[in-house]
Symmetry: C2
Subunit: 244 residues, 2 copies
């Protein structure tokens, strides 16, 4: 039986989602919990995509196959009792055996949290990127307009990537202000490696006044990673939702 799970995690203590030798990862914690539940039987999980070290998830989606026939509502209870407190299975659904967490994803939403303050906040140190330079959000909004739609996002993709087709569609880039937090909401049909973090870094440079908003269009046209801005740090990023 194939199970689809929605999972939230605080990425602070993890070297990212995907299993890596000698590293603590979200995938290895979930697979360890599944192994206990299956009395040692190894169950491999597949995520909708990787998240990097320190990156958080409010709604990562995974699937796995299991011989156990638990009712849907029992899966979160059983797994959460075996998982560390910084990972939570929010929901489990029985799904048909053709479902695939990565291949079937029609789109994703990410949110990037920026703490606009010169004063550090002990409660957000691993959960928002502290940015002490003043930001002109209108400039960021204007720059973001050029990013919407279907483009080759090569300039906004980490150079070390194996993906060939770098055309993606961004359907939303929104700026939400919550007190001293600026949250940038990105939605699209798919995201390249480090894409949200490079988009954020470049938009921050625009908001700070180091780039003109119309440069965003030029950066896209160059199809060159070095044309874009810095990669914003992982700890401000949240995989918010995966759409199927």
């Amino acid at each position: 039986m194939r199970i689809k799970c929605t999972v939230s995690y605080d990425g602070t203590a993890y070297s990212g989602f995907q299993v890596q030798p000698e590293k603590r990862t979200v995938q290895s914690e979930i697979e360890a919990a599944l192994a206990k539940l299956h009395k040692g039987g190894r169950i491999k999980i597949t995520g909708s995509g990787r998240t990097d070290a320190g990156v958080h998830a409010k709604g990562q989606v995974i699937h796995f196959d299991t011989p156990l026939n638990l009712p849907e509502e029992k899966w979160p209870v059983a797994l959460n009792s075996l998982l560390p407190g910084d990972i939570a299975v929010l929901k489990a659904e029985k799904t048909d055996s053709g479902f695939h967490a990565r291949y079937d994803a029609r789109g994703k939403e990410y949110r990037y949290y920026i703490l606009r303050s010169r004063q550090r906040d002990p409660f957000l140190r691993s959960h928002a990127y502290q940015y002490s330079f003043p930001l002109d959000i209108d400039r960021m909004r204007e720059g973001a307009e050029y990013l919407l739609g279907t483009h080759d996002f090569t300039s906004f993709c980490a150079a070390k990537t194996e993906v060939e087709d770098k055309v993606r569609t961004l359907t939303a880039v929104e700026f939400l202000e919550e007190g001293s937090l600026l949250v940038i909401r990105f939605a699209g049909n798919g995201f390249l490696y480090n894409m949200v973090r490079i988009l954020t870094g470049t938009l921050l440079e625009t908001g700070r006044g180091d780039r003109e908003p119309k440069e965003l269009r030029e950066i896209l046209a160059k199809k060159d990673r070095t044309a874009a801005g810095k990669t914003a740090p992982g700890h401000g990023l949240y995989l918010w939702e995966v759409f199927y």
Copy 2:
């Protein structure tokens, strides 16, 4: 010169505020940073009061004496560069040598964070008390009315305490609902050991239906710790502000 500092900390990694042998405490971290700043000279700090293991602070106040004559605005910068990321000095003020962070405090505000959910939240696991039973906030409000004003709070004080006078004045007990969070705001002229956590535990039992609101008055009258409810856990509690 005497310096008054406002300090915020995430208490998760600490065995409370006050120095204890072999334990990591907020006071020992701040004193270690001050020692570095004073080239090894020991500077003792005095807080407005202790906080227990896991308890957080948004506005703890401390004072210390120093031979250094730094401008006020340099103190937070200098100390924060030496402190771990889960402690932040928010503000420093030069004060007269008679100022005392504990004795001069006229009042305090605490807030207690309750996550009303059956689903755990990886981001709040150390920052709010997850409470899965349904709560009737109106019952809690009604019970809290009996607590307002000047009373002997012996019933709401941990038995192991050295304080003799247990009369305190509660000026506010407010219930703030923020999504699935219930925040109880307590303000008063002073708080006994574990008082906010015992008040919270007893109010939760009232909201859950295990106690009648009017029992709060009877519990006060008994002057007996065993008459009140359970001590709510430390990780939901924030020392919010100290008034002088």
